[in-house]
């Protein structure tokens, strides 16, 4: 279980403090996936980076009751820009998370790359591959860690419609196997409905408060035309609109 209690995160700029997240609380059961939505600039990436251990914060972040730290908890992070190192080949980039010492890992990396369909890109550099391929490299890097927590920041937003749906299917399949607790940031509602157990909408009040959490029973289903589904979608869209005002 992932618990966040009284979280406060701020950025310092020219000695001024800018609070982005305040009085933030959240619980997410192990193995569940939460989608986070909200207006641009409301603090979604900030929240994700805080959980990833990149930013300093006040309050508590607990995993199964213990303080979360990058050293004790395996965290797979896929940043908004995928965070690949331009001077490393695809293969080396995949190993970046687990380190370069373990020879066994190299075999696993090859297997994983193969399953993701990008083994033949192993020796390419990130500036030589497409956005969708880069996204899969980042996914491979995260999955090799066998993460307890998987964090994804708009992983499909740079892809076109077809590539995005394909990538979502692949991600869902991999996610099912790792059983990681996950948080995925997205601005496409269909994505959230397909991948997540819960959908959280963040308010646009410069405090990053969660305005509403929806329980989603349509996870794993694509192209639903069911009336109930459409109503549910409408309802969420309505809240999203309110947040954008």
């Amino acid at each position: 279980m992932l618990e966040i209690k009284n979280l406060e995160v701020s950025y310092k700029k020219d000695y001024k403090k800018k609070i982005v997240i305040q009085d933030f609380n959240l619980t997410l059961e192990s193995g569940k996936i939460l989608a986070v939505m909200g207006k641009s600039g409301c603090g979604k990436s900030t929240l994700l980076h805080t959980i990833a251990g990149v930013l300093k914060f006040k309050g508590d972040i607990l995993v199964d009751g213990k303080k979360l730290s990058a050293k004790n908890t395996k965290i797979g992070l896929i940043p908004q820009d995928y965070g690949l190192l331009p001077w490393q080949t695809v293969f080396k980039n995949c190993l970046f998370g687990v380190g370069y010492k373990d020879k066994e890992m190299e075999n696993e990396a090859r297997k994983m790359l193969d399953r993701l369909g990008i083994l033949d890109l192993s020796n390419q550099y990130p500036n030589e591959i497409s956005g969708g391929q880069a996204q899969r490299v980042a996914l491979c890097r995260a999955l090799l860690l066998k993460p307890q927590i998987l964090l994804m920041d708009e992983p499909f937003s740079a892809l076109d419609e077809v590539a995005s749906i394909e990538a979502q299917k692949l991600t869902a399949k991999m996610w099912n196997e790792t059983k990681s607790t996950g948080i995925i940031i997205t601005h496409r509602l269909e994505e959230a409905l397909y991948l997540a157990d819960d959908i959280a909408i963040m308010a646009n009040n410069s405090k990053g408060t969660i305005k509403h959490i929806f329980l989603n029973k349509w996870k794993g289903k694509l192209d639903v035309t069911n009336q109930e589904y459409l109503e549910f979608k409408n309802q969420i869209e309505h809240i999203l609109m309110e947040c954008n005002e």
Binding site: A52, L77, P79, P86, Q88, F96, V98, G99, Y125
Partner: protein, 248 residues
């Protein structure tokens, strides 16, 4: 690679043609015909110009090497620590503008006429540029490139080795290239006194003896030396920074 060598050859030939025309037009002993100069290369090499080159190369590599060994860590700590930056910045800012070659007499008085004072002047001329290049390069690395490393609990050392260092490597190499040019230029100053070896000394000495053939041979050799060093750097950059799009 082949393109670079081709460009290099074209430039070489063009300059020699210009030189040839100028020598005929001016018709003075101070600008001999290139053909005569190249003919005298035989004797020049026989008389040991290559050992002069070797000594100069040693001084250049020592100067560049030490300035990198000392400059990169200082630049790194200036980028990482506000305190270090605040202490060092005024010193570096002030001494950046001093022409280091003007310090040569002091260096010779304190350290003697040997190589130490010569390498010191080379080092001083180059180290500030290394420090500032390193500091700026680290400063401009986007913070986000560290996110994945931090989220997996990597050590400072790991991040330095696999993220920071490779990120600044292209800038460092560009800096070395500029420094090699500087080092060649100041050879003529640091080798003017207190030595009987070095290609800079060789040029100045044959000049004072009014042996223009040897003087021109020396100038050609130092130019070739510069060109070869540049070519080697370009090849090295291409090899090590494969991931960077090459600018022609």
């Amino acid at each position: 690679m082949m393109k670079k060598i081709k460009g290099f050859l074209c430039g070489f030939i063009a300059i020699n043609i210009l030189w040839f025309i100028a020598s005929i037009l001016l018709n003075t002993r101070a600008l001999p015909n290139p053909i005569i100069v190249y003919k005298s290369f035989n004797i020049v090499i026989h008389k040991g110009i290559l050992s002069h080159v070797a000594i100069s190369l040693y001084r250049i590599f020592a100067g560049v090497g030490i300035s990198l060994l000392i400059g990169i860590p200082i630049g790194y700590f200036m980028a990482k620590s506000k305190v270090v930056a605040n202490i060092l910045h005024p010193i570096i800012y002030f001494s950046y503008s001093i022409p280091k070659t003007a310090l040569l007499p002091i260096a010779m008085l304190l350290l003697g006429l040997g190589d130490t004072s010569k390498v010191l002047i080379m080092f001083l001329t180059m180290v500030f540029q290394v420090i500032i290049t390193t500091r700026d390069a680290i400063f401009y690395i986007p913070e986000s490139i560290y996110h994945v490393g931090k989220s997996t609990g990597k050590s400072e050392w790991f991040l330095l080795r696999y993220v920071t260092f490779p990120a600044i490597l292209p800038e460092i190499f560009t800096g070395i290239r500029i420094n090699l040019g500087t080092a060649l230029a100041i050879l003529l100053i640091v080798e003017a006194y207190g030595t009987r070896l070095g290609i800079g000394y060789y040029i100045l000495d044959s000049w004072s003896r009014m042996n223009y053939n040897e003087m021109y041979a020396g100038i050609i050799v130092i130019s070739l030396l510069g060109a070869i060093l540049f070519l080697c750097m370009d090849i090295l950059i291409e090899k090590i920074c494969k991931w960077k799009k090459q600018v022609q």
